[in-house]
Symmetry: C2
Subunit: 141 residues, 2 copies
């Protein structure tokens, strides 16, 4: 497995800027949440799982971008030629700590839902992340 160089130019070399250019929009992280925590794997599942109501063209665009950035991988479903199966790459799985910290931050400072998840995250953050990572690696089959 080989790493591809990024062939477009970033605004700066700062690592945070790289993250922001890949993830800094209103939808990418939510798609990743649906993959990590809800097991969404297909276009339809993303549309249905999305609590926030993502538009179809935006979803298609974001899936393309996430794939271009090596965060997710798309391959046709062997059982159903219409379907694409989206899975997280290693790089995508490595975002688990980022997502977790963002969830914990909002849960601390905003009035949010999904309390059972929060409690589990709070109780043992490292264990929670490890469990998610383990499950996602297994799902890469």
């Amino acid at each position: 497995m080989q790493k591809k160089a990024v062939n477009f130019t970033r605004r700066s070399l700062c690592p945070l800027n790289a993250s922001v250019e890949m993830l800094g929009d209103r939808w990418s992280l939510l798609i990743l949440r649906d993959m990590m925590l809800r097991g969404s794997r297909t276009y339809k599942e993303f549309l249905e799982a999305s609590l926030e109501g993502i538009a179809t063209n935006i979803l298609a665009d974001r899936l393309r971008r996430l794939e271009r950035n090596g965060i997710i991988h798309a391959k046709p479903d062997a059982r159903d030629g219409r379907r694409m199966i989206y899975t997280l790459t290693r790089k995508g799985i490595d975002l688990a700590p980022v997502l977790t910290e963002m969830v914990l931050w909002a849960a601390k400072h905003e009035r949010t839902g999904n309390q059972p998840l929060i409690r589990k995250m709070c109780a043992n953050k490292q264990a929670f992340i490890a469990e998610v990572v383990k499950r996602l690696r297994a799902a890469k089959e």
Copy 2:
């Protein structure tokens, strides 16, 4: 100190969505980076420190939004009536782990700069965050 209810409606109650609605754009996190790691405190400093070249209208808008969301605090400089001094609130300081994880993720998977910072973060993540938080709390005077 009292928490204000958010009086506009979120797309969903998911905590990650709350984070994304507050921080999910191309500039907010970079401004926070400049506050946390470079000590930027005024409009001019943000413009000068910004490696990425933020536009003046966008900067003004983002500072307003960050303040509305309780992430930063603005108060006029007593020594210079033109200046506003922006500082991180407790809520803003609590974003240190989020920023750190995003930096570490990009540093691992992309070709980025600022290697000394990365090395320090990697060596002891918790200590790094604790140090940043300590410094920022002190700066709230």
